[in-house]
Subunit: 479 residues, 4 copies
Amino acid sequence: MPLRSPVEFLRSLRDGRRVIYRGRAVEDVTAHPHLGRGAAHVGVDFRLAHERPTEPLLVDRDDPDRPASRYFTIPRVAADLLRRRDLIEHATREARSFVPLIKEIGTDALFALMIVTAQMDRAAGTSYQRRVRAFYERCREGDLAMAVAQTDAKGDRGRRPSDQPHPDVYVRRVRETAEGVVVRGAKAHTTNAVFANEIIVLPTRAMADGDADYAVAFAVPADTPGLTMVASPRGFSATSEFDNPLSSRYSLTESLTIFDDVFVPWERVFMCGEWRDAGALAKTFVEFHRFTAVSYKTPLLELLLGSAALIADYHGLLGAAHVRDKLARLIMYLHTGRGLTTAAASECRVREGIAVPDPIMTNAGKYQFARGYHDAVRDVQDLAGGLIVTGPAEEDWAAPEVRALIEPFLAGRASVGAEDRLRVMNLIRDLVASDLGGYLEVLAIHAEGSLETQKLTVLMDYDLAPLKQAAARAAGVTG
Amino acid sequence: MPLRSPVEFLRSLRDGRRVIYRGRAVEDVTAHPHLGRGAAHVGVDFRLAHERPTEPLLVDRDDPDRPASRYFTIPRVAADLLRRRDLIEHATREARSFVPLIKEIGTDALFALMIVTAQMDRAAGTSYQRRVRAFYERCREGDLAMAVAQTDAKGDRGRRPSDQPHPDVYVRRVRETAEGVVVRGAKAHTTNAVFANEIIVLPTRAMADGDADYAVAFAVPADTPGLTMVASPRGFSATSEFDNPLSSRYSLTESLTIFDDVFVPWERVFMCGEWRDAGALAKTFVEFHRFTAVSYKTPLLELLLGSAALIADYHGLLGAAHVRDKLARLIMYLHTGRGLTTAAASECRVREGIAVPDPIMTNAGKYQFARGYHDAVRDVQDLAGGLIVTGPAEEDWAAPEVRALIEPFLAGRASVGAEDRLRVMNLIRDLVASDLGGYLEVLAIHAEGSLETQKLTVLMDYDLAPLKQAAARAAGVTG
Amino acid sequence: MPLRSPVEFLRSLRDGRRVIYRGRAVEDVTAHPHLGRGAAHVGVDFRLAHERPTEPLLVDRDDPDRPASRYFTIPRVAADLLRRRDLIEHATREARSFVPLIKEIGTDALFALMIVTAQMDRAAGTSYQRRVRAFYERCREGDLAMAVAQTDAKGDRGRRPSDQPHPDVYVRRVRETAEGVVVRGAKAHTTNAVFANEIIVLPTRAMADGDADYAVAFAVPADTPGLTMVASPRGFSATSEFDNPLSSRYSLTESLTIFDDVFVPWERVFMCGEWRDAGALAKTFVEFHRFTAVSYKTPLLELLLGSAALIADYHGLLGAAHVRDKLARLIMYLHTGRGLTTAAASECRVREGIAVPDPIMTNAGKYQFARGYHDAVRDVQDLAGGLIVTGPAEEDWAAPEVRALIEPFLAGRASVGAEDRLRVMNLIRDLVASDLGGYLEVLAIHAEGSLETQKLTVLMDYDLAPLKQAAARAAGVTG
Amino acid sequence: MPLRSPVEFLRSLRDGRRVIYRGRAVEDVTAHPHLGRGAAHVGVDFRLAHERPTEPLLVDRDDPDRPASRYFTIPRVAADLLRRRDLIEHATREARSFVPLIKEIGTDALFALMIVTAQMDRAAGTSYQRRVRAFYERCREGDLAMAVAQTDAKGDRGRRPSDQPHPDVYVRRVRETAEGVVVRGAKAHTTNAVFANEIIVLPTRAMADGDADYAVAFAVPADTPGLTMVASPRGFSATSEFDNPLSSRYSLTESLTIFDDVFVPWERVFMCGEWRDAGALAKTFVEFHRFTAVSYKTPLLELLLGSAALIADYHGLLGAAHVRDKLARLIMYLHTGRGLTTAAASECRVREGIAVPDPIMTNAGKYQFARGYHDAVRDVQDLAGGLIVTGPAEEDWAAPEVRALIEPFLAGRASVGAEDRLRVMNLIRDLVASDLGGYLEVLAIHAEGSLETQKLTVLMDYDLAPLKQAAARAAGVTG
């Protein structure tokens, strides 16, 4: 049933999954006052493909009998990665800069699993690759929504999985049976898992010898017994569309995803004890996923830049030197990240037949984005002015006598009315000075790995030897 | 009645003032669900002095018959400014980093008015100084709470007051009578005016010839007819003490303060048409007020640093190199600002008998604070981890079965329990990734003048000539 | 005579050109003690093509009868620009990070002239395009070395060309004759003009109505009467290969290029009075030339990174966290710039049949390079240690008894001898803490336009309107 | 013989000391073409005191019978430290920003030795304090010039002194005799030791158990047998006063100071094996010395700022927004460092009767200086323009016909002649884009400890516990 409609997608979420929100079990996530909004938002991916089924950016019709969502297209060459980037940008722009992340991360994980299990099978004679391919076909055929649970609870971050005060702070194999494996533990901030059909679980880091029980990868349906998702209300709890035009309508929903002795049949197990391969899987996933990450940042930065330019215009300040300076820097910032996705795709490496974005370019892009985000926020706040956090509320504007009182003082340059200016200030506050703004700042540095992990990854991938040798030659060092 | 008790202070606010909050008139600000919290908070200044009336830091007993709040002590030497700094730090620390600003800004304005009116009177034979002194005595004797309204609505920011599309976007003189002057217009983000007894109004910038009507300074009681304060709900609307331990309990309340043909008797008028002096008054106020500003930042930065160190400890990461790097930078940042207040006080200049903090040091301190704040926020967010914006809510923790489910996964290093860790993460989110966090970021760059204004002030004050001459000598340029 | 040998190239420079060095006329630049070194260095472009005439990167054999240096290949598609980037990187790497700039800039100018004169001819019926094409063929056929003189002396930088105290501080048309035009003025820092066969002159900025005499573009042979080049000794005057392994062997030679009533025949005049087109020509040249610029930075940054890693290794510090942090940042920095050239080529626009690198990506790349260079220098200096500027000289090392005395104290970690460590420290000092190092820093921010000009260019090119409209929609602003 | 004249000082340097420069032994440092210049420069301290013997800033006459150089005044209160700061600034300004460092560092070391030996004696019953006091009196009475040798050669920087491949890469005790101790090893970059009467040697770091032989502190006269100083030519080898107005006239002379079995009599030994106290001594010295360091930076930053403002003026750009922005930032930068010395003095702690500058403020000041130096350099280079590294040489200017040719093109705005502009550009190149400029950059980050050491020091000194507790309270964490 490829190309599910949004209605079909939403219907599929009413399946008995166990979701907790603010201390209470949620009967139906699509009907819940808060989560329902998130469900509607992430449906954008289905809506777009359903509305324009012949649009190549959205739908892959290479096999005309089996059209599928473009997200499932396995990248073979640079152009495939560029189109994937464009698709992610497009869907995110449609959703006012909020990436749906209902197929993006899942396919990132599937591509990584294909590559790493091929290597594992070749080295150890296992047959994981076949399982991954079968699961991939299932997701593609069913046009399924997927979440990826990777980051463990971690406990003492200075210790390895098997060296923790509590044994479950990394997801682990509890026991194996003839039919499958039983797992326990929790994964933190799983994005949109509450709206997924399938939860793909990956290890979060390289493992050492004693950590074999923690080297597990698998997939489970969202309604699997023993699986509970505690959804976080952070970032998107606003209710006034006037005051918070974004965070009252869109949402990314993160959950603490708990595996309480969940049984996984062997067909859905993709790694189980192979601790030497855990690092490769974590890293390969991240090579795809950081590329996705940088791709979905562009629409957010476009919105920041557009808002900043608009409010500067409303203030009558578009000609001021310091304003132009800030706008120029925002443009440079936006296009540095975007340009590096182009470069990452162009310089991809093909592994096991799959095009992997260049990890140095990808990490450089992610790093530049994360490193510069707070500066960009500061520039936007600077251009917007203090009134974004000291101005009147929706109710003030709605009360005619209050509105009459304040209206003259909220207008901008000639012909810019108070309401327009107030709406743009509200948009900017929502983006950069609110619960949502805080969420986005933290997301900028922590999602898809912190700044430190990007540095680590780059150092791991980089061959310094030839550059050291060239330097030695330039220095006249011989031998 | 010096040294009013908090109760007396609160009682004085029930005076018929016209305050609007979320579209509705507020009967009694002290009894209002949201504003009442702010009133209680700003009362800290009264509470401290009342509780410890013999503490020199809090109470000035130089004239034993007329003890007064220390804020009113006119600084004569560096030590007075240092004590003023210490007082501001102390009260702000008592209030979990939220400066009460109920006497600080008011006395900043009074000191500036004393200096500038002395110069004006000397130059033009006016008698403003006497009025300022009388008003000062009234405030001191009555232990009054004062707000300062300075920033105008501004309209088109590229145009001067008299060149605006709408004539009222800067507060202006509408007409004079034998008894006083009638003023109209609005001042933006007046801090805690809704909790003040007196509103002191100052011009916001230098004026030019045609702007004489906009060169007005005066003071009015908060319940003056024609005065309306539209209080902003931004930044401090949280309600759960668990989720938002700060923004649910403290608040700074900004208002749009509207003067709808307000009559001011001559005794309360401190400038009226003297456009040549408007810039000097605006600037002198700012010389005091930015010193106040840098002083009240210290407790906030202490709280950021303490929280960051605490959560790094909970995570088991205090020994990690990148963690230590970030903590060291936070320490440097905190003490750079604080050190510059020491320097600004130590290098004060005495004008008209009043010690004025060195403007270069003051502005350097404010600039370094503002320039570095977002970096500090990023470092704190980085240390805290993504869970601060993806974690469970108060209701999850309150529901026993949910708590049981999630508790093992929220604990930190050995002996750090989930609740403690969750509380500290909530504190950090409240500080750096929330409506409050956004408010604080915007405050960092806009309150007491934006980064651009600090650069402008420094350039205005700085005599580059001797340094240029020394450079010319070093270059061998003669003549 | 395509594919000239280095010998032929050098011979062509002995042509009576007027070059001044340190106050004296230079008879033969190829035989001059200082300039001869530069001549040898820039010959690398000829050497490479001559040595490997079948290498497509170096030689264009699309027309087998007329092979030509690859630099002359007119880019038609993205791949051409990528190959051009690779060629520039290759030649620069061959020359230890010092770009020869003997064909790069010249062809940048020719491509720009082709585009802009096509537009000019179409609009005004002129026939400049034909002249440009003929001149291009001449250069290509003759395998000529070309310099570009663009930056005028400028005088008062706050004034336009026609509004200067001295009329000649921008190069100008003095008079026209039937045969051509007579020009006067000077161009600053013309790179390697003293080693060029042809000097191409372009306007440096947009002009206004009264500036018509300053809107001139043309080409003259280096030995044209009236042309004098005052070569600068800065940056590359070192003489000890031990102490300064780079600046004693390589050089970029900048000159003040003076036109003292130089006659240019019409066939070599490409703009003469069309002030409206001066800006477009200046800007189009820069679109190519900044792409060249970012391309030739890569080998320099590779050398910085390689040297930094090597010295950290010698110090025994490769495992230290702060060292790894700095190396990771250097990697990110290097590949951000390089990635943006890939993006600039990939997203090129075809104008008049010529592929022009995307100006936003190009400028972002140049800006990120220039903005980050001093940070990179600081990191390299930090890793290298103070000894690079406090250590012994070549003569100390050459004196056996001094060497014996100091040798034990200059060794690094086990197995790293004193001489190797000293050589690498010397390389690093030469790169980042010397006359050359200073030259490179200034080059980083001023060559190919300062940071301010990159911001200006980006703002000029960027269409903010769609982003402002999208922001308005997101804010709910209608109409 | 207090208050020696410069002549007496220079005479005292002709004592048979063993100095090597560029591979050759130097007979008389005062008569040497290069070193003689340095000797003349550092004599400024003697000249000033000799010329103005009643000036309290320069001469301490507290005991009228025993006037002494003010540098020797032991600081007892904040005002003493401020005067010391002012003295260092004054002498450095007199020498065009080049600190003489002939009494500054030596007294820093003596104050530290007084404090730490008092503690050592009290704890262990030794009598080092008496020796230090006697040595101090000798230096004070003799008005001696002193150098401090602290930084060891270090070898493998990842290993402790006793764990090195070569045993001598840290200075060490070889053997003890009844009369004293014999030491061996080398200290790197000892500033102006070649011009000192006494060399004071301190340990460079904290030591561990096996390092006892490396825990040595002592003083030796510069002509002690076995002591050799290999002076570095770096940074100050320029010869043209026109091209390099600073580095051709001033110099700081660093040496590799080698102890080849030097005998030190017990009276001059201040630590010998007490490895537990090595860290305290190194650190206490640095507490004084970084205060000295930040103090002597002010004149350099004044010169940078003055040069930048002057050249911007010459260019006709003083009114440009981006120029004003850069000047404002340079002002902030300069006064941040300077303000923190004021704060460090004001918040000093008295230890063993001696006022020690507050280490947090001192390190914050040093860190801000070092962290911002390259940014300041970039801004100055940016303001100066590319011509500083591409312009003509002294010989061009000296040749009348060349001068006539180039003069019109080197002038600035109206009334700014070419020679003045060229001189200022030369000054700026000398400061920020030359061998000297590179030396100053490296000095900025490495002298008196690198950025990393400042962070380490601050973390070591800082008591995070109260801030963590306050954060815990704010979070509602109990117990």
